[in-house]
Subunit: 82 residues, 2 copies
């Protein structure tokens, strides 16, 4: 298992409820790929969302996000955390 | 106080020691601006670093990072965290 940070664009004006809903949609199916999304952070002005996860691969993170309706190609494998 | 996520490029091939050193350089002066850097995550292949902080403003985060020698213009104010 490795650690990943992924980045989404296009969430301009998103609300807390919408982020909870999107995060819950990930959590509902993440087990299918052995992924766990730990945290999500939204900047609604910039429309950016950052998600921190543990997963077996970058592709697993991407597949869950795609199935949940918020695909992203920006997934970074975290080698160092301080 | 608000929460911020900032993003750095150009850390391709950076080591754990270099990230600890960069993070310590921030911690050494962050109090001057009322900033606190909580976490930093590195993807050395992509050269990306993500920093999570609490701070009075985006500009305060930018000033500390600039003085520490790793400026970035990409600082996002986090309105929602789940």
């Amino acid at each position: 298992m490795a650690r990943f940070m992924d980045v989404h664009d296009g969430f301009v004006g998103a609300t807390r409820e919408q982020i909870i809903e999107a995060h819950d949609a990930d959590l509902a199916i993440e087990g299918d790929e052995g992924v766990h999304f730990e945290k999500a952070w939204l900047d609604a002005e910039a429309g950016k969302v950052f998600c921190l996860s543990t997963a077996p691969s970058k592709e697993a993170v991407m597949r869950i996000h795609e199935r949940s309706g918020h695909p992203t190609a920006e997934v970074y494998e975290i080698g160092v955390e301080v």
